[in-house]
């Protein structure tokens, strides 16, 4: 049943996200693209929308993917799933473990999860770069110079202008896409 599956997937994603929205991308990629729910490209579109609309990234993504798969009820189920682990864990901490920050071993456990996340994110990025540039195969003839150019220029823009917000990066790359795919295709 799609609703139960949506709930469980997003519950797991919520449970294993430590340190903010982007930390959940490797698991989302694996679960959502892996289950054939969305193509990798669709998921990138969803990330773009989640980043440029108000609200927490994780909730936006859950709502969007839930809606795609199961309408409004699907959204509700996915959102409840992604939020519930936070709610339960923090209630337990607020109620019973006032000195949570003093439990060094548990904290180190979670810190180490963040170390793993770094490796996982870089693996996802590699996969996405290849996908943007080569499409589904590894055909050199289909090398997408525009996608490559946008990635390189946006990366350096952010290096130079450190304050550049995510939304501005999205807008700039959208404009570059419009110009070099639409108006003056290379």
């Amino acid at each position: 049943m799609i609703y139960l599956e949506l709930f469980l997937v997003f519950f797991l994603v919520g449970l294993f996200t430590i340190g903010g929205g982007y930390a959940m991308i490797p698991m989302l990629q694996e679960q959502i693209v892996g289950r054939g729910w969305l193509e990798a490209e669709d998921l990138l579109n969803v990330f773009a929308i989640s980043e440029s609309t108000p609200g927490p990234f994780a909730v936006n993504t859950a709502t969007f993917v839930g809606y795609d798969l199961g309408g409004v009820l699907g959204s509700a189920v996915a959102t409840i799933g992604v939020v519930l682990p936070s709610f339960i864990i923090i209630l337990i901490i607020a109620r019973f473990i006032y000195n949570f920050l003093e439990y060094k071993s548990i904290r180190t456990g979670f810190e180490t999860v963040k170390v793993i996340v770094v490796g996982l994110i870089f693996a996802v990025v590699l996969e996405l770069i290849l996908k943007n540039v080569f499409g589904d195969g590894f055909d050199l003839k289909s090398f997408d110079f525009v996608a490559f150019g946008i990635m390189v220029s946006v990366f350096f823009l952010k290096l130079v202008f450190k304050k550049l917000s995510a939304i501005k990066i999205i807008i700039i790359s959208g404009i570059l896409g419009l110009i070099f795919y639409g108006i003056f295709p290379l």
Binding site: I18, T53, Y67, D68, I93, F100, T108, F110, G119
Partner: protein
């Protein structure tokens, strides 16, 4: 005004006016919860953010649950969490309603092709940001390489999950052993 309603409305505002969640919310959280309402003081806010960041889950919801509990117990948590989530929920459903048809327009499809390249860079930068936050030890480099290598070469739907659980257990046991050794010395 009823405390729970007030919690709901305050967090609704925080959810509606912050983009990206997490740290983007900190200035508004400070303004609303510390300066205007006086529900928590600045130290409590920093503690709350430290806990929200060090525990699993969505940072925004962690913070809402935490403050909600302090002000209004279980139902306070519930009201605050619901408040912080609802704006996203409505906005995204509205966007999702039209998005698929919207993408069929050639111009929009071109724009989103560009945007996907940009988002890839955003994800890469998030990875770099996480990397900067972690201690640069040999063990950590090894764990990063392990996670990276396995997920590049293996195709398994629960691989990330297994690696994350492994990371938690590894860190937990490592710290327990270290503490035990320090106590013996």
């Amino acid at each position: 005004m009823n405390k729970k309603l007030e919690l709901f409305l305050t967090f609704f505002k925080i959810g509606a006016f912050t983009f990206g969640g997490g740290y983007a919310m900190v200035p508004l959280i400070r303004e609303e919860l510390v300066d205007k309402k006086g529900w928590i003081n600045n130290d409590e806010m920093l503690d709350m953010l430290a806990i929200a960041e060090a525990t699993p889950g969505v940072i925004a919801v962690n913070s809402a649950t935490f403050v909600g509990h302090k002000i209004g117990g279980f139902w306070g948590s519930f009201a605050a969490s619901l408040g912080v989530v609802l704006p996203s929920f409505f906005v995204i459903i509205l966007v999702a309603l039209f998005f698929e048809d919207f993408l069929k327009i050639k111009v929009i499809a071109d724009i989103f092709r560009g945007i996907r390249a940009g988002v890839t860079v955003l994800i890469f930068n998030a990875g770099l940001r996480f990397f900067k936050q972690i201690p640069k030890t040999a063990v950590n480099y090894f764990l990063i390489a392990l996670a990276f290598g396995l997920s590049v070469f293996l195709e398994f739907r629960f691989l990330s999950l297994c690696l994350l659980v492994f990371g938690f257990v590894f860190g937990l046991i490592g710290q327990l052993l270290k503490t035990g050794r320090e106590e013996r010395e």
